[in-house]
């Protein structure tokens, strides 16, 4: 079910009511279309070279034939860049670069032609310019969406508890590490201040102070790291009565500023490979903890719900316990 969520992000609710920010489908679709378009152009330029060169008015030059052949091979490259990756990335930019080359070639060719050939070449140039506009639009839109993805994650879950209990549980930030696995501990240091310690790669920790910036009982809690945090971050959790009074909807939005470079890479690791997935796992465990009092564990998933662990399951049989492994 897709709908406009309360915090203005186009979102998709999946199983368990866990909600995910949806992919920007129009730009994905456009990128796929351009991929198939490149494949068609490449095939035509290579397979029906004489006809293509006659249509575009360049059938009088041997150099133009070579340029056309190179362009055909290049189009196949664009097709691969656009169609092979699961999500559209830099593929559209390769098309923009190719368009620039084509426009330059057309410009040069126009200087030397007259009559019918010049007319055909003009149409070709106009067509290439139009395609360039579409390519540029797609590339920019895909890039903008990717940037937004990196900075903000958003998820929601419905829990079978009344809004007061859910608000009270979340309001005590010291409860958060029970279900947010990337946190080692959170300690309240003042009325609105808290000290957070998170796991970092290679057994290290990252620490920062956070403060509550907005607190509306049974409705919303908003916090952010105070100045000086190595990974500036902020979060908001909203609580709403579920339809029919069937529990409480909990919607979480977490933003973090990735300054790029080395630190950017660390941030990515800090939040796991897929921050979105991590927040979904957190909320699944939150539901378990607040409803049942425990994180559900099986022999194959001893640490409870975690998509990373699901990819690498142990057999469903007891393991000899080693220390505090569980």
């Amino acid at each position: 079910m897709a709908r406009k969520s309360t915090i203005g992000v186009r979102s998709v609710t999946d199983a368990l009511g866990i909600e995910r920010a949806s992919r920007d489908r129009p730009s994905e679709g456009l990128a796929r279309f351009l991929g198939w378009f490149s494949l068609g152009l490449g095939a035509a330029a290579l397979g029906a070279r004489s006809r293509v060169s006659r249509l575009s008015g360049i059938d009088d030059s041997r150099t133009a034939q070579t340029v056309l052949r190179i362009a055909g091979v290049r189009e196949l490259g664009h097709a691969a860049a656009l169609l092979v990756p699961r999500r559209a990335g830099w593929g559209a930019w390769t098309r923009v670069a190719g368009d620039a080359m084509d426009l330059a070639a057309c410009g040069r060719a126009l200087q030397r032609r007259r009559g019918e050939r010049r007319r055909r070449l003009t149409y070709t140039t106009l067509a290439v310019a139009g395609i360039t506009a579409v390519d540029l639009y797609t590339a920019v839109r895909v890039a903008r969406r990717r940037r937004a993805d990196g900075n903000e994650v958003h998820a929601a879950v419905t829990v079978n508890r009344n809004i007061e209990d859910v608000y009270r549980f979340w309001h005590d930030f010291e409860n958060l590490p029970r279900f947010m696995y990337h946190l080692r501990s959170v300690r309240m240091t003042g009325d609105r201040r808290s000290r957070w310690i998170a796991r970092a790669p290679a057994g290290k920790s990252v620490e920062w102070d956070a403060e509550i910036v907005d607190d509306r009982p049974n409705a919303l809690i908003s916090w952010r790291s105070v100045a000086g945090a190595r990974v500036p971050n902020s979060g908001t959790v909203r609580f709403m009565r579920a339809a029919g009074g069937r529990g409480t909807e909990v919607r979480v939005q977490i933003s973090y500023r990735a300054p790029g470079g080395m630190l950017g890479a660390k941030v990515a690791k800090l939040f796991g490979e897929d921050p979105q997935q991590q927040v979904c796992d957190d909320l699944r465990r939150f539901k378990q903890v607040i409803e049942t009092g425990e994180i559900v564990r099986s022999d194959a998933s001893p640490n409870g719900s975690s998509v990373q662990q699901q990819a690498n399951q142990r057999p469903a049989r007891p393991v000899a316990m080693r220390g505090a492994e569980w």
Binding site: A15, L16, K287, Q288, T292, V296, A300, P318
Partner: protein, 391 residues
């Protein structure tokens, strides 16, 4: 401890594995006194349920004695209690559990994200039933860990033998729920595909719930004889007669009021060609389940009747007769049994002597012989219907 482990499709081994330990506050550890092989275990053996791993312990029908309890177990259980455990693992606290839909508990599958990819939403975790449904060790073993023991384990306080109460764990509630979902009214005719333990219990339950006639369909004469003798049902052998013709004839054209599919994903068809068609598609993985019984049940059912599907399906079927289903106002209900909802009332019926589920046991063997038990059960040798294992 010893445990029956899945190694690969059609390969099992009884292995020595570590004993289970308490992992969570509401856990119990059971010393198993009896367990059983379920028809749905054969889907695991045959490799039709995805996400199995070498070394997984099987078994979701078991009972035993509590030897250890977590700190947080909420009510009435103590060490030394004799209990029977329902096969779906259920927390008791989510909205599904509180509505009695225990087999779709929202919390008990730690691998819910895999199940969501395959099914949209995740059902409950199940003991010994693939990593898709949680990756829990099963009970064909000497010991087992029971999560949420305060919801899943039913204390047996009197001296009823294991054989009479063991099947409260799965097949008796499953058969009962199959009949209940038909909303039986006095005078109804109920047809049941499959004369295995679930089909036989569904037949017995349909009579308990007021059906006037019950017709059971299978191809093994010994099973049909058994269900006739134990429940009073009529039978059709689908290798001898055309099922749709026979049902039309037996009900004088009306068709059964309720049709129960107690077969599931590995159905057979009397026509070798039709069976080969679905079997080939299943092997090529363009269809995961062979729905012969379900298709036939839809076509057989009277206008406005109910299909109750309790045989296990794992994925996708095709050639579902949707036109017949829609145009004739049929209803379909289904589900893994919400065992915890039925255990107490069915125990009461057993106590009163209204039903004695031990009639389906044909074999009792030692845990060491489990692979042999699967073998004769799967290949329908020695007139096998139900194997009980004694650790």
């Amino acid at each position: 401890m010893l445990a029956n482990c899945w190694i690969a499709p059609n390969s099992l081994a009884v292995e020595d594995v570590p004993d289970p330990q308490i992992r969570n506050p509401r856990d119990a550890i059971l010393r198993i006194t009896s367990s059983a092989i379920c028809g749905s275990d054969l889907h695991l053996l045959d490799g039709f349920i995805p996400a199995m791993r070498k070394g997984d312990i099987l078994g979701h029908e078991f009972m035993g004695e509590i030897v250890e309890l977590g700190q947080g177990v909420r009510d009435g259980l103590s060490v030394g209690d004799r209990v029977v455990v329902g096969f779906p693992i259920a927390c008791g606290d989510c909205i599904s559990c509180q509505r009695g839909l225990y087999s779709v508990c929202e919390n008990s599958n730690p691998n819910a994200a895999i199940a969501e990819t395959a099914m949209g939403h995740s059902p409950a975790g199940i003991f010994g039933y693939s990593h898709l449904l949680g990756g829990y060790a099963g009970g064909q073993a000497q010991y087992v860990r029971v999560p949420f023991a305060d919801v899943g384990a039913l204390k047996i306080e009197d001296d009823l033998p294991d054989e009479k109460v063991l099947f409260l764990s799965d097949v008796l509630p499953t058969g009962y729920m199959a009949a209940e979902m038909c909303d039986i009214e006095r005078g109804d005719i109920i047809a049941i595909w499959g004369a295995g333990p679930v089909g036989q219990f569904a037949a017995a339950s349909a009579f308990l719930l007021g059906a006037e006639r019950v017709i059971v369909i299978d191809r093994y004469p010994y099973r049909l004889r058994m269900v006739r003798e134990n429940t009073g049902a009529e039978t059709i052998n689908y290798e001898e007669s055309d099922v749709l013709d026979a049902l039309r004839e037996m009900t004088a054209g009306r068709g059964p009021d309720g049709c129960i599919d107690a077969v599931g994903m590995e159905g057979h068809h009397a026509s070798a060609a039709l069976h080969a068609y679905d079997r080939a598609k299943q092997a090529a993985k363009v269809e995961t389940d062979r729905p012969h019984a379900l298709r036939e049940a839809v076509l057989a059912c009277r206008n406005g009747g109910t299909i109750s599907a309790v045989g296990a399906y794992g994925g996708f079927i095709d050639k579902f007769p949707m036109g017949s289903f829609m145009n004739r106002s049929l209803t379909m209900r289904s589900g893994q049994a919400h065992v915890q909802r039925y255990m107490r009332p069915l125990l009461e019926r057993i106590r009163k002597g209204e039903i004695d589920p031990s009639f389906i046991i044909t074999h009792t063997m030692r845990l060491d012989d489990t692979p042999h038990g699967y073998d004769i059960f799967k290949n329908k040798q020695e007139e096998c219907v139900k194997v009980v294992l004694k650790p």
